[in-house]
Point group: C2
Chain length 249, copies 2
Amino acid sequence: MNDVIETILNHRSIRSFVDEPLCSEQIKTIVRAAQMASTSSYIQAYTIIGVKNKTTKATLAELAGNQPYVEKNGHFFLFCADLHRHEVSGKIENVNVSKSLESTEKLLVSIVDASLAAQNATLAAESMGLGICYIGGIRNNIDKVAELLKLPSYVIPLFGLAVGVPEKDTEQKPRLPFDNIYHEEEYLQDETTYINHLDEYNKTVSAYYERRTKGKRSDRWTEQMADMLKEAKRTHMKTFLQNKGFMRD
Amino acid sequence: MNDVIETILNHRSIRSFVDEPLCSEQIKTIVRAAQMASTSSYIQAYTIIGVKNKTTKATLAELAGNQPYVEKNGHFFLFCADLHRHEVSGKIENVNVSKSLESTEKLLVSIVDASLAAQNATLAAESMGLGICYIGGIRNNIDKVAELLKLPSYVIPLFGLAVGVPEKDTEQKPRLPFDNIYHEEEYLQDETTYINHLDEYNKTVSAYYERRTKGKRSDRWTEQMADMLKEAKRTHMKTFLQNKGFMRD
């Protein structure tokens, strides 16, 4: 196994950081790594906002659902899907690009672009001994986050990335069975096998929680998922995206 | 610089592969690496389909816009955003999860999840000396790709990943200026600076094309973008997504 694969397989989300800010060299390396990810037709449809200011971080933590590690970390990166640069490019070149920017296809493109960049940032950070946690919670109050960080039209905050020196190590959560994630030649058609995978996984996940909580929890994965999905959350998303210019068509 | 950062910074898309299939160990390592990416609330909302069958690959290449490297590579992975597993979880647990699965928020979650996994797969492959190319072209005929690979409801093909032993090395394309991608504390408010970044970048990109094509091309980046975006493409996307159960709310 090489160092890259070792770093990838060793990933765990870190939710407790030492009070030690990243230096500017570390930030530069992380952002440059992010930039080298593949991008759809060279579009580079994302922007990263780095937040150091303590008041801003505290506000973000509150908006994200009072997660302390949004406030207390070495650096907070906000990853945005961004087509504003392309709106400006249209103006510079005197070409109307709005129909294209407003297409659902371009929403997909910008989310994929931002995410590929973020995962590069993650691995660069982890390779330097730092820990990370993705913060989807910023979408709880996505309009307020956008306002706080002054995002223009065609820019949406997708997720945060809290980075810092890990204070506490955490355990890895077991992933879905290989054969349930990876299908050959076509989507797995045999429903019995598919359900068996989930049953098998439920046992693995239950055993994990039992061990970790010394018997206090033994959730099945399907139970966790059904519970999480019984109510739609962040139902403001479509309106927010459309207000920002996305997904109108 | 460590090996991880070196691998990340050395990335270039490879569009010509040696006729040598990946072995099953390589495929396993790549998929296991993908699985270790972060996932929103443990949802793991993606599936990877591995395609070896030559006829299927040839059809995919045609559907993706006749890109030869979709057919000729060491292995073809299709990354899908997938909430079907969660639909099944709802059935197992006797909980109605459809409102949640149909929310735009869950479209975002599944695209981000699939993309983070894909970038791990990419870096694992590159660390083993393989080359990769993301294939957004499969979205040209997304309904036919979904039909070909028998994707059920709540599953959408997002992009392919062609992987193999590189036949020809390629050059890296210069990325946007650091200060244009990375903003501090808030989105860059100074429009003059912002435009200056793009002007500066246009010069870099023009020089790159001039050098690479021995003077035959000298596109500016804003020109390329405006040209690409003057017409909306893949305008079938919203209907396709909604037919698959996504983004109805």
